[in-house]
């Protein structure tokens, strides 16, 4: 080891806590970067492999009923590579020991061989192949796990009014259900909703679909135009009750995985950048001070014949050690947190295997980025040190010159104490450094605002969606639309207090060349259970003519109240009509359209019918009510508001909680690192001054106050800025996260701000105290003797 390197090691030992502070801040940025990039890699590669190996389709469609012969027409569409047709049937499940009714989606398995597309992945038990195996079924893993079902267990389902019992042959996964949520639901509810597969013949017999199919999937040949294939599919299926084909980009499971990757992509750039910039600044501050202290040593080295390059490299290596430590810590942190988040993804996403894959390229990039940050940090300081002629450098630096601070120049300086004026003048002498320190503290404050605003946004959505809009206890859907008498039947169920009908129809809404497919809801004009609310929380009374759209849908279709909208019904008599948009409603999940129920029924031309009802149920008769719904064959689906709410809280609250913890840690590290580092540098620069104060009779506390006075001012200045930055960050992130499916409102509360201020203040005070402890070791005699 060269002597210069030995010097390097000893210098590092003397500066170890400061070097550690810088390395930690750097590590936070890298942890975030490595974690997010690795998660993106893990999700993308796992998803792509899964899709490819299990032949996930590219175009999907549902219809009423078409004979098998139609399959050939579909296969003949130019651009279609493979077709898979089958049956999908929604059923009510009966699980022993569970009060609330559960629903399932049973899909068919081909009569010969394996599924051509959307192949299943066997988790346990055995696969059902071919015609045999009467009374056997395959169950999706999420549901099986939530209900503790294993191969060999039995499960009962009501198929078209007939109750049948099946034995579970195997537990499986499907690329179609990576995200396994009930249709239209924003979140999974694995306890009460599951997917199943059984042989075609049995399912066809139970659903009167023998020789026919009611759903299909397609893959395309490379280069085929998806839109024209979708148009052709729609044309072919029209006579058979086609409900509109859609591509992968609209597939409910696929979009959720894609959205998650998009969110990660957003996070993988911004935050690491913030942390690494702060780390670069801290490196610069530490190195500048170190080089100033070693001014005479540098002169000596130069006098002895060392080249500028060698001296520069020596100090750069110093910074490089910090970079390597930061990268190592960051990689460890990224891998550890990545593993935790992958665990969390198991709550939402079902892959045959989702392993954490370290993005190794990012690791290399991280080292390069951090080294660059370090070079930037060291460059200026080293350059000014090596440019000095040795003779000059060996003389001590001239005393720092000060001038009165701005507040004094304008004449109000006399209102301040002497230590306060010292702090002001110190800031005035190094404004750039003060600004950067303040900025870094502001960023730490800002980082804290973000997760709390997410949490508050989610709480707002919960309150808004489930207290203000939806006031029912349950929503009950009928298997098929029924006559008004059905409402009376539902009202007669035990414990029901109020019941309000709903009529739903699948439609395509079109304005110019923009369109969306969704369920159009018909509600009574004065609906009190499922209310239509505008942006100002005012109830919208549905008019006898016209349509109300959710604000997001109006944005997607580019329409405003007063504009006309083309409605094409995709079911029943398939009427087409034009309606004016009369108002915009506010909601935070998906997109929605509403009409007055009578108006919708008139437009559909099938008479007065209802698809289901919103009910309030007396608490005391809840079990009785649930038992009754299970025994009513007509009821297809029961959605319990509280269950969804609990599920939402559990899954989303858990993930937000984890993210909040991560941010909290990172922000604390930055606040701590910045304050500690600044205090240490200040202590080193002003050692003599502080020792003098001690000698002339200032107590340790008083000297500590002088030391941290400047930092206190900078922190105080940083806090309001931090809140502004945090609000901006939260807004920007919510903008990138928000999409057609899930939206969060930007909610910024005083409590959120107070928390951020509190955390940064506490971190600052603690680190300042830690730095002040070094005042105890101040060598009063030695410092006064030597000239600095």
């Amino acid at each position: 080891m060269s002597l210069l390197d030995r010097k390097l090691l000893r210098d590092l030992r003397a500066l170890k806590s400061q070097a550690l502070a810088v390395a930690l801040v750097m590590a936070c940025g890298l942890t975030m970067m490595i974690m997010t990039r690795s998660l993106i890699l893990s999700l993308e590669s796992t998803r792509d492999d899964y899709y490819r190996e299990h032949r996930f389709a590219q175009v999907f469609a549902k219809l009423k009923r078409a004979p098998h012969a139609v399959t050939e027409q579909l296969a003949a569409i130019p651009g279609v590579a493979a077709v898979q047709t089958g049956i999908a049937l929604q059923v009510t499940l009966d699980l022993p020991g569970m009060a609330e009714p559960a629903t399932g989606l049973i899909q068919s398995l081909p009569e010969r061989g394996e599924l051509n597309l959307n192949r299943l992945h066997l988790r346990s038990g055995r696969m059902l192949v071919g015609r045999g195996s009467t009374g056997e079924i395959l169950a999706g893993e999420a549901f099986a796990e939530a209900n503790n079902l294993k191969p060999g267990d039995e499960i009962s389902a009501v198929l078209y009014g007939r109750r049948q019992t099946f034995r579970i042959a195997g537990i499986v996964l499907s690329p179609e259900f990576v995200f396994e949520a009930p249709p239209g639901a924003a979140l999974p509810n694995n306890k009460t909703y599951g997917v199943f597969w059984m042989p075609y013949r049995e399912l066809a017999a139970a659903s009167n679909l023998d020789g026919a199919f009611n759903q299909l999937s397609l893959t395309l040949v490379p280069g085929a135009a998806e839109q024209s294939v979708i148009a052709a599919v729609d044309r072919i299926l029209r006579p058979y009750g086609g409900r509109g084909a859609y591509g992968r980009e609209s597939h409910p499971s696929h979009t959720r995985v894609r959205d998650e990757i998009n969110v990660l992509q957003g996070l993988s750039v911004g935050f690491p950048l913030v942390f690494l910039s702060v780390a670069a600044f801290m490196t610069n501050a530490v190195m500048s001070r170190q080089i100033t202290l070693q001014r005479e040593q540098i002169a000596m080295l130069k006098a002895c014949g060392f080249a500028n390059r060698e001296i520069g490299w020596h100090y750069f290596k110093f910074a490089l050690v910090i970079v390597v430590a930061g990268t190592a810590l960051g990689a460890l942190g990224g891998v550890a947190l990545g593993h935790q988040l992958v665990e969390m993804y198991h709550l939402f996403f079902r892959f045959p295997q989702l392993d954490f894959r370290l993005a190794k390229g990012v690791l290399v990039a991280a080292i390069l980025v951090c080294s660059l940050a370090a070079v930037i940090g060291v460059w200026g300081a080293v350059r000014s040190a090596v440019r000095l002629p040795p003779a000059e450098a060996m003389r001590p630096e001239p005393p720092a010159s000060f001038r009165p601070a701005l507040v004094e120049r304008i004449g109000i300086g006399r209102f301040f104490t002497t230590p306060f004026r010292m702090a002001l003048r110190n800031i005035g002498r190094r404004p750039a450094r003060a600004l950067l320190t303040s900025l870094a503290l502001a960023l730490a404050t800002g980082i804290l605002v973000v997760p709390s605003s997410f949490r508050d946004g989610i709480n707002h959505v919960l309150d808004f969606q489930w207290d203000l809009i939806q006031r029912q206890t349950v929503f009950v859907a009928l298997i098929e639309p029924g006559p008004p008498r059905a409402l009376a039947d539902l009202r007669a169920l035990p414990g029901v207090i109020t019941a309000e009908p709903v009529r739903a129809a699948p439609v395509e809404l079109r304005a110019g060349n923009r369109f969306r497919r969704l369920g159009l809801n018909g509600l009574p004009a004065g609906s009190t259970l499922n209310r239509v609310i505008d942006a100002h929380n005012r109830e919208i009374a549905l008019p006898p003519h016209g349509i109300v759209l959710s604000a997001k849908l109006a944005e997607v279709l580019a329409v405003r109240p007063g504009d006309a909208l083309q409605v094409r019904v995709l079911d029943g008599k398939r009427p087409e009509f034009s309606v004016p948009v009369v108002a915009l409603s506010e909601d935070f999940a998906g997109t929605a359209a509403f009409m007055e129920i009578g108006a919708l029924n008139r437009a559909l031309g099938e008479g007065d019918r209802i698809s289901g009802a919103y009910l309030t149920v007396a608490g005391g008769r809840w079990t009785e009510f649930l038992r009754a719904t299970k025994e009513t064959p007509r009821i297809g689906n029961v959605v319990i508001k509280q269950a969804i709410r609990d599920g939402f809280r559990k899954t989303t609250a858990e993930s937000i909680g984890l993210i909040q913890k991560i941010y909290l840690t990172f922000a604390t590290v930055v606040a701590f690192g910045i304050v500690y580092n600044s205090a240490r540098i200040s202590l080193s620069e002003r050692q003599r001054e502080l020792a003098t104060l001690r000698v002339i009779g200032f107590s340790r506390g008083e000297v500590g106050a002088v030391l941290v006075g400047e930092l206190t001012l900078l922190t105080l200045a940083a806090l309001p800025f931090g809140l502004v930055i945090g609000s901006g960050l939260a807004s920007a992130i919510i903008q990138t996260v928000n999409n057609e499916f899930v939206r969060l409102p930007l909610i910024l509360t005083p409590a959120n701000y107070a928390f951020a201020v509190l955390v940064v203040s506490v971190a600052s005070v603690l680190s300042a105290l830690l730095a002040c402890r070094r005042l105890n070791h101040l060598d009063l005699v030695g410092v006064l003797k030597a000239r600095d």
Partner: protein
Amino acid sequence: MSSASPASTVTPPPVFQVRGLTKTYGEGEAVVRALAGVDLDCHAGEFIVVLGASGSGKSTLLNLLGGLDSPTGGTLRYRDQNLGTADEAGLTLYRRNSVGFVFQFYNLIPSLTARENVALITEIAPDPMTPEEALELVGLGARMDHFPAQLSGGEQQRVAIARAIAKRPAVLLCDEPTGALDVRTGIVVLEAIERINRELGTLTLVITHNAVISDMADRVLTLSDGLITQVTANPQRKPASGLRW
């Protein structure tokens, strides 16, 4: 000790009473005996110059008298207070109220003007003079609002003296006060110290390598190897203005 004697007939009790004072640094083989047993009485209004080679123990003595360090053995009394057993807070209070320091390298706070450097003390001392008075005493009335970087070395040292005496200390301790100055400026600084000693009756101890300064003193102590080896009393103090080196 005759505690009941009338003050007019006997010498007042000494400001410092030092008996068998020792100070060692380090342990075992590396032990350094900086003071090996010093006996000394210092009285109010005295001007004492301490001479000695480097390592003779003169700075250690000054540090102990100034409450910057604690002795290893012996007794060290300041008036009624036992400095040898005083704790950190007690020493801080002692420095704050009773001692003024002047150092070779001035040790002014660079971010404060001359007036503010002095005010730093007058804000915390119990019965101070105003910063203006203190600066007038050292002849710097005209440069009160200058920052240290705008003052010459001699001027900076006089600010340091003003800062030291603004609290009206009982003791003024000066460690090589002219060490960094040229002769002319050094004499101006010494005149300031002399004036304080005379007009305020402050017990003044000056440590120096410069033997010429000893002509100003009432008593001259010479230290060697941690012991006072010689005490000379000057029958006549020479004014600072008459010194040359």
